[in-house]
Symmetry: C2
Subunit: 321 residues, 2 copies
């Protein structure tokens, strides 16, 4: 059942022991949203635990400072920024199947696996929703909460640069800045700092860039060999996803990376009316209009070819429109 933010606030306020679930391979939005909510509800005397099946990357550590995160039998289980129960990770998926009471999410592709779903597909991030949710519950916005949410707002919008960014996104960012979010350092850490190994990987990735369809599509492919040569690893690959689309005239930018099992994970970024999620859905993946992903099998060339076929269909439809 779909519910709105006010109903979501009422539900959260009516329970005392709440488990908040983040998606696996956690990012700034799922963690920032869940921890901001956790801090706000803890301050109201509730027992809250934030759970994620993968380790928390160190850059997000500040979000958990001061959270007791103790063990208890939850009265309410809520998934935050989790479009599909599969995204909780294999073990958690089995453990929580059929048991998730509430989902707060902004992905249009949400699988409606929770009993009650608060879904705002026009919200650029879950954190943008949580900002308004915390206002509904009259939460006190500490600088830490503001920083958690600001991290979610910026990391899910490429620091206000993706097409999901709306005037409301800017407004929320401004409010969080006024509330004491550590805007400068958050932006430096997540957008303006490259490790030397990442910088080396980026150069190898840029060298691999190939163009297709009269330069309307650009593809980079990061191989396991490139990780070895740069000293980098898969954890640093996400930031490469935007590079191909940045080239003038490119409508579809693809960043592929070879996984250890030989399969390829592709991130697709599009401009304008070209639907990245349509491309990826046909290959078993999903995502948003401007940013989506899928996993590809076979040789590198087979993987590229299967993706190019779907991209060509989208570009052709776009050009004819």
């Amino acid at each position: 059942m779909r519910i709105d933010l006010r109903e979501t606030a009422e539900i959260l306020q009516s329970f005392d022991k709440i488990l908040l679930l983040c998606h696996a391979h956690p990012d700034g939005d799922t963690l920032g949203s869940a921890t901001a909510l956790a801090h706000a509800l803890s301050a109201k005397g509730k027992k809250i635990r934030v759970e994620c099946s993968d380790p928390i990357p160190k850059d997000f550590g500040f979000m958990f400072e001061g959270l007791a995160n103790e063990e208890f039998e939850p009265e309410l289980i809520a998934a935050i920024d989790v479009a599909d129960i599969k995204l909780l990770g294999k073990e958690s998926e089995g453990k929580y199947q059929g048991k998730i009471d509430l989902c707060i999410d902004h992905h249009g592709s949400n699988m409606m696996y929770a009993d009650k779903v608060c879904l705002e597909p026009d919200s650029a991030s879950a954190a943008e929703m949580i900002y308004f949710l915390l206002k509904e519950i009259n939460a006190e916005f500490t600088p830490q909460i503001a920083s958690c949410l600001f991290t979610g707002v910026t990391t899910d919008t490429g620091c206000m640069r993706f097409s999901n960014t709306t005037p409301r996104t800017f407004e929320v960012a401004a409010e969080l800045a006024k509330l004491g979010a550590d805007t400068y350092n958050i932006i430096q850490i997540f957008f303006e700092t490259k490790t030397k190994t990442y910088a080396a990987l980026e150069r190898l990735a840029l060298d691999s860039m190939r163009f297709y369809f009269s330069d309307r599509c650009a593809v980079i492919c990061v191989t396991q060999d490139m990780y070895k040569r740069s000293g980098s690893d898969e954890s640093e690959t996400d930031r490469l996803a935007n590079l191909p689309r940045q080239i003038e005239g490119v409508l579809v930018g693809v960043s592929m990376r070879e996984l250890k099992d030989g399969s390829f994970k592709a991130s697709v970024r599009t401009h304008g009316d070209i639907d990245a999620s349509a491309i990826c859905k046909r290959l078993g993946g999903g995502g948003h209009m401007g940013a989506a992903g899928c996993t590809l099998y076979g040789s590198k060339q087979q993987a590229i070819n299967s993706l190019l076929k779907e991209i060509q269909a989208e570009i052709d439809a776009f050009i004819i429109d």
Copy 2:
């Protein structure tokens, strides 16, 4: 004489023929600020001309749409975002020496060459000041004016990423977004689009990166030869300025470019409390705390050495502090 925004508004409202001067080698802030002011004052029936001694880059063309920009004998001459009369360009400097009635600027290094100076060094951009100035004169904020100002606000802050960005900067950006600024396309054009020639130049520049002082300083140097090899030119070099500072641990990032006369223009970007303008001032340049520039002479190695000497002094002072 220093005046505030209200007095500035009164002066602008009391004249009917106003010339607005932009600095040479124009950027989004000087042009966005001057054109926004021009549109707002024109709408109040005044004759306004925006003048710049260099050609207007095509990406800023939208700012001038609908501006009559006709010839007339000005009753008031105002320089916008111009810290030093020299920055008007040689010819204009001679022409307007001693004749500039008003200066609206945000550079702490302003030379106070104008009769009246409205200076807000805490403002991240002149456009941020103009936003409040237009409120003072009860201007109607058209989407075009909002876009002109949004361009200034973002281009002078590296899209909200530089240390000059304050909560007020976010607030102004949010207000401009709500007023209809074309935020997405402005950000795409100025921050997320690379020509193929720029992308090639960037790779050559990154290859030239060298580290000094235990990796606390990174320097890239773009030579005339690199322009030839990449097909790029000096107009595309500004964006390189931030790259060296992005490397983890780098406190001072320098981007040098060789001019056609063999001299070098250096852009210095710093983190934290290291004063880029102090470094550049000692070499005859100037700027802000976090971003400054200067011109260097001699061979490439001599140029680098003279800069490194000043950088070392600043880093040493910072580390001892």
